[in-house]
């Protein structure tokens, strides 16, 4: 039976009907056409489907869409703003921290949540935090370096000085 769902996605209120068995990933991609969030394993292991749910990083394949009732969802589509790309996105491009790109939205969301918690992570911190994100192409090294470089840029940017 289709059920009414009201949720906020990237700051925008959305109302739709969905089936209880649909995952949040299914609804984002198939109903709302927000296809930036990717499906890799569909069982919680790869992180390609990472989104933020009420400020916490989760695998959207492992969340029923109806669990997002009344909650705040942030997807890769909400990471860049009108000013331009997020520093993580810029550095991923500059440093070629991607090849096929399927894993990239998940890595960006995951890395962003790390930098929000820990603005100056060590390489070990980054590797541990990203353990739930798999990449079949890059061998991870460029991704880890890109996250460390983004952390550096973010902590040097005047905006974060104001925030701190």
């Amino acid at each position: 039976m289709k059920t009414y769902l009201k949720t906020t996605i990237n700051g925008e209120d959305k109302e739709l009907l969905c089936e209880p068995r649909q995952s949040l990933l299914d609804v984002l991609r198939d109903e709302l056409e927000l296809t930036g969030t990717k499906e890799g394993c569909n069982n919680g292991n790869c992180g390609a489907c990472n989104i933020m749910l009420d400020g916490r990083l989760v695998n959207s394949c492992m969340v029923l869409a109806l669990e997002a009732q009344g909650k705040q969802v942030e997807t890769i589509e909400g990471v860049a703003d009108t000013e331009g790309l997020h520093p993580l996105q810029e550095v991923f491009l500059e440093e070629a921290a991607l090849q096929c790109g399927i894993c990239t939205p998940g890595f960006i969301l995951s890395a962003k949540s790390l930098l929000e918690k820990n603005p100056n992570p060590t390489e070990d911190d980054v590797r541990l935090w990203l353990a739930g994100n798999l990449c079949r192409c890059t061998g991870y090294d460029k991704i880890v370096r890109a996250v460390l470089e983004s952390a550096k840029r973010l902590s040097e940017s005047p905006q974060s000085e104001v925030a701190s």
Binding site: T3, S23, N43, L57, V58, M62, L64, E67, W129, A131
Partner: protein, 292 residues
Amino acid sequence: MDAFDYFAPDNLSEALTLLATPNKTSRPLAGGTDLIVQLRETGLKCDQVIDLKNLAELTQFQSEGGKGWTIGAAVPCSEIYENAEFASQYPGIIDAASLIGGIQIQNRASFGGNLCNASPAADAIPALIAHSVTCQVASKSGTREVNVEDFCQSPGKTVLSEGEILVSLKLPATPKRFGAAYQRFIPRNEMDIAVAGAGSSVVLSEDGKTIESLRVGLGAVAPTPLLVQEISDKLKGKEVDSATFEQAAEIARSYANPISDTRGEDWQRVHLAGVLTQRTLQIACERAQAAL
């Protein structure tokens, strides 16, 4: 996934009534990190999924004054290890909460779900055993308490009967000179299922040289996680030294009765039960001594 109905009640008695709906199979949902995989991949069927995360009793996480702490069954691992006051008192629980899955799983996976899923390799359970936790269970007809070491009955099966849910975990206050630790063995650094696991806790004498009491829980070496009562009985009063840790390891090995599977051979698991018992007891003692 087959179709089901979804409910997210906001009071416990409504949830218990829904769970007891006649002629319908119901499944409680906490973080869904086991349940959603089972519904999708193993053909598990149910008529209704009852989300427990809007229930105050299941999401509570608080100190009970001097009487320990209560953790609601649906509280996710990350909320547990982010609480600094709790973390300083329950180190074995923190070890386990920090190594289940990756960050994305820790933000959803609950200790209640870990227990109710009743995997022999569940990481939270040996740590809960070491910390002497009791499980608060409720159904429409009342409530009861179960010691955590008695909660799992066989792989995938718990003491819960139809219509019952696990509401919360009661953690007794940790005495002075207390220490605990949980470790598992996996072939990778993270994101894997335990080949074997052990959780230990100790209370030391005032000078920190003698073990006044101790508890060891083992995982993945038997159909359910085990409390090794013989270690508590035989080794209390012994000195904090490698001979005592080796004796504990020997007893642990004698209780390990594992299977061989793709993750490890039975003999390897028996060996690991000893190694991990030794290591976690040693860390538990070091942690207790550090607080002297």
